[in-house]
């Protein structure tokens, strides 16, 4: 058991929490925006996967990780645009469309990847890292916290930016009104369809970026179905965070740590069966839901399409 407390274990757990946590953070922040505006975005898993696929493809063909991220964002937005059209503009059922989009993207990316690469999984070159003198040299914390890809810091900054936008500008009000009582926003002169669509597109962009991060930084390659439920964890995070971006961050790190426990325990050479360890993230989700799920407060009009003038 003392193996659990070694520097190698802690360092690898912390690194893992960040590497696995960043996509969850991006997805959670994205989903949070949609849910605030009253759209339950179940298609987020598909948006992540589309981002992972297009992000990898762009990075691989252009040999630029940064272009890859743009490709990932584009991939997520593409799927999100479809969702916005079907669910926000045409008011189809959000849950049905969300599931259909996710399944569709799963099949489509697997197929496209197969056509292009047959059964091979080409790897991207390892991304360049920021090497901050001194900071990176701190034992345990140093390499985990300060040796990460710049995108990690951008994601962290986005937490603060969103928190500011939600609290200090009319954006938070407009979103909450769209999610609680869209008719009230409409008659106040707001634009329900526009704000909801924009929120869904934002979710797509964030989820796509998260997917691209998983492919390009986390794994260095694309494998079909590789997001493996990260988008769904993002939905849970958004629901538990009650509209606060900082809570999404906290949740993302906890789930990230749980997800990376497998690797960390192996690094530490523990003898707990891997099956048990692999179950941990899901046990964590359930535990968190049981403890805090009750406190999640969802917007009153979540999942309900808005039609002007309907009774």
């Amino acid at each position: 058991m003392e193996a659990l407390l070694t520097a190698a274990f802690l360092s690898s757990l912390l690194t893992g929490a960040i590497v696995a946590g960043i996509p969850l953070l991006l997805a959670g922040l994205g989903e949070q925006m949609s849910e605030k505006a009253g759209v339950l975005n179940i298609g987020i898993e598909g948006m992540m996967l589309a981002g992972a696929y297009l992000g990898f493809l762009t990075a691989w063909t252009s040999s630029s990780i940064w272009l890859g991220f743009l490709g990932g964002i584009a991939g997520g937005i593409l799927v999100a645009a479809l969702m916005a059209l079907l669910c926000v503009v045409l008011r189809l059922n959000q849950i049905v469309i969300g599931i259909a989009l996710t399944l569709g993207v799963e099949g489509m990316t697997a197929l496209l990847h197969h056509f292009q690469f047959s059964r091979t999984y080409p790897r991207l070159p390892a991304p360049d890292r920021v090497d901050l003198p001194f900071l990176t040299d701190i034992p345990v914390l140093g390499p985990s916290l300060f040796g990460r890809h710049p995108l990690v810091y951008l994601a962290l900054i986005s937490v603060l930016v969103l928190a500011f936008l939600y609290r200090r500008t009319n954006l938070g009000l407009t979103l909450r009104a769209a999610g609680e009582k869209p008719a009230a926003l409409d008659v106040a002169g707001g634009h329900v369809i526009a704000i909801r669509s924009a929120a869904v597109l934002f979710t797509g962009g964030m989820a796509g970026l998260g997917g691209a991060y998983m492919a390009n930084i986390g794994a260095g390659l694309f494998i079909p179905y590789m997001t493996g439920g990260a988008g769904f964890i993002g939905i849970v995070l958004a629901m538990l965070a009650r509209g606060r971006p900082l809570w999404v961050l906290a949740g993302a790190l906890i789930f990230g740590a749980a997800l990376s426990l497998t690797t960390a325990l192996q690094v530490a050479g523990s003898n707990i069966p891997t099956d048990v360890i692999q179950m941990l993230p899901f046990a964590a989700v359930m535990l968190v839901l049981v403890i805090w799920g009750r406190r999640a407060r969802l917007p009153a009009a979540l999942g309900v399409g808005y039609e002007r003038g309907a009774r």
């Binding site: 009000l173 009230a184 009774r311």
Partner: protein, 531 residues
């Protein structure tokens, strides 16, 4: 768009409808209506439930577009194709149903609709609100959570929001239905001041006295058509009674609605069916507690509960129906203690409750009328058999309800939320009276209904009592209680202040009830003034 010449020349026109028609599936809601609203006037729109008043409001507010005809603003044709277009045209609307977000603060609701990247200007809003409070006596607490406020207070906020926008046209759709009589008078004075400042005010109400006192010009709708108009000079020449008579004549085409139900029955003497003994409930910040309430109700009797709105009437109704738990005392029904019984158990015994909250508590808006008529009997015969729904039975029952209560609806499949308030009320009443009803609690049964529907509802309540059912009638309308009740108990601050036998003849009955309603301290003054 080409415009009729005379609209452009009518300089005082604020907004105009020109042969406007609006259809909904199965209903012609507005049928070729032309209407000119002038600046500096309070223009009252009258019409029975479902006449199309709110539909006209919806078109002016940009929620709906006319199918035919057009709308002009200040003499020029305008397409009001969205609420923001309507707001930009200077039209501000207070809707029949509150349009505020309950989970936002009052301040946040006031700034809602501004561009999303903008930061709210607190100081500026504070200054404007202070001005409005001074000029119009509006009460607005900026930091209160909107959902915690009473409906009357929320209406004040909506009016404040409309005024903040510097509107040239202010529309108030049944804005006084939630207000106390003095609150309504205050609003009437506010409208007058606004009209004097050059606004055009469109005021919709079912209370004809208000229409006379607050309005300059009165237009009357009947089944979507404009059927009459009382111009300012004509209105000024009439006294209140004459004006009301004229309005009734226009609204109902001369049909007699004031059929007096005056009663000279002997007082019921049977043993009490419902006895309330020293009942008490828990109170809260927004809910008044009930304290030490006792009364008896006999079969065939109508016991009225009078009082100013919000003095515990709703809590009493809920405590009796089983929706609110009692913390003291007991409720006896037919000799048995039912204090601990659930809503369903009490209903089975024959104790029925007709809520005043028709939209959220009484019905499921998206369900068809048919399902709503049996909502409280789910699983029970004859509409279910062995756990299986019998749509044919339910449908037949619903058609019978629609026919018998003359519900204005295209069919029994229409979602009940599409009906107007009065028609929803009829369906609810029908539902409470099916099966073995023995006692019925009515909470504000005629609120929001037009004169004809009010008369019909009152007649039904009378019939129910004549059939031997016990009726508890909670109402804020003294006339209604005096017309129907055998005895009238007055509630104030969660207690019963006194009970008066309705001996019809005594002319000072209203005065006696009124004295019980206001608090003791003020009572002496009232009597002093009256003398």
């Amino acid at each position: 768009m080409t415009l009729p010449a005379q609209t452009a020349s009518d300089m005082s026109e604020a907004v105009g409808l020109h042969t406007v028609t609006k259809r909904f599936p199965g209903v012609l809601a507005v049928d070729g209506v032309s209407l000119t609203v002038r600046t500096g006037e309070v223009h009252v729109l009258l019409g029975e439930n479902g006449a199309g008043k709110s539909t006209i409001v919806g078109m002016l507010a940009g929620l709906q577009e006319p199918d035919d005809g057009h709308i002009s603003v200040a003499g020029t044709g305008s397409r009001l194709d969205s609420p923001s277009a309507s707001l930009d045209a200077g039209i501000a609307t207070v809707f029949q149903h509150v349009m505020l977000v309950p989970t936002l603060t009052v301040f946040e609701n006031l700034v809602l609709g501004a561009p999303w990247w903008r930061r709210p200007h607190r100081a500026q809003i504070e200054r404007r609100i202070a001005e409005l409070s001074r000029d119009f006596g509006l009460k607005v607490q900026l930091d209160a959570m909107t959902g915690d406020l009473s409906l009357g207070e929320q209406q004040q906020i909506e009016i404040a929001r409309a005024l903040l926008r510097d509107a040239r046209v202010l529309i108030l759709d049944e804005a006084t239905s939630m207000l106390t009589p003095s609150g309504a008078d205050e609003l009437g004075a506010q409208m007058r001041r606004l009209a004097e400042r050059g606004l055009a005010v469109i005021f919709i109400t079912h209370k004809l006295g208000e229409a006379y006192r607050f309005g300059d010009r009165i237009s009357v709708l009947q089944q979507g058509r404009m059927v009459g108009d009382i111009a300012p000079d004509a209105l000024a020449r009439m006294d209140e009674d004459a004006a009301i008579e004229e309005m009734v004549r226009l609204m109902f085409g001369g049909s007699d609605t004031s059929a007096s139900l005056y009663r000279d029955r002997p007082a019921p003497t049977a043993a009490p069916l419902l006895s309330v003994e020293r009942l008490g409930t828990e109170g809260g910040a927004e809910m008044m507690a009930l304290k030490d309430l006792s009364f008896d109700l006999r079969p065939g009797e109508i016991l009225g509960i009078a009082g100013i709105d919000g003095n515990g009437q709703k809590q009493l109704a809920e405590a009796l129906s089983g929706q609110r738990s009692a913390t003291a005392g007991r409720v006896m029904f037919d000799g048995a203690d039912v204090t601990r019984l659930s809503v369903g158990q009490r209903r089975k015994l024959g104790l029925r409750y007709l809520t005043d909250d028709r939209l959220s508590e009484g019905t499921i808006g998206i369900f068809p009328i048919a399902e709503n008529t049996v909502l409280k009997d789910i699983g029970a015969a004859p509409f279910w058999s062995g756990g299986i729904e019998r749509p044919a039975r339910i449908g037949a029952h619903a058609r019978e309800v629609i026919r018998h209560y003359s519900v204005r609806a295209p069919s029994e499949f229409t979602p009940i939320g599409h009906l107007s308030g009065g028609n929803i009320q009829k369906v609810l009443l029908a539902r409470e009276l099916t099966g073995e009803a023995r006692a019925v609690i009515f909470n504000k049964p005629t609120y929001g209904l037009d004169t004809r529907n009010i008369a019909a509802s009152r007649r039904r309540i009378r019939e129910i009592a004549d059939k031997g059912l016990a009726v508890l009638l909670i109402s804020t309308e003294l006339d209604e209680l005096i017309e129907l009740a055998d005895r009238i108990a007055v509630m104030a601050s969660g207690r019963i202040r006194g009970t008066v036998v309705n001996d019809a003849g005594a002319g000072d009955l209203r005065l006696r009830l009124g004295r019980l309603m206001v608090d003791e301290g003020k009572m002496a003054d009232t009597t002093g003034d009256a003398a």
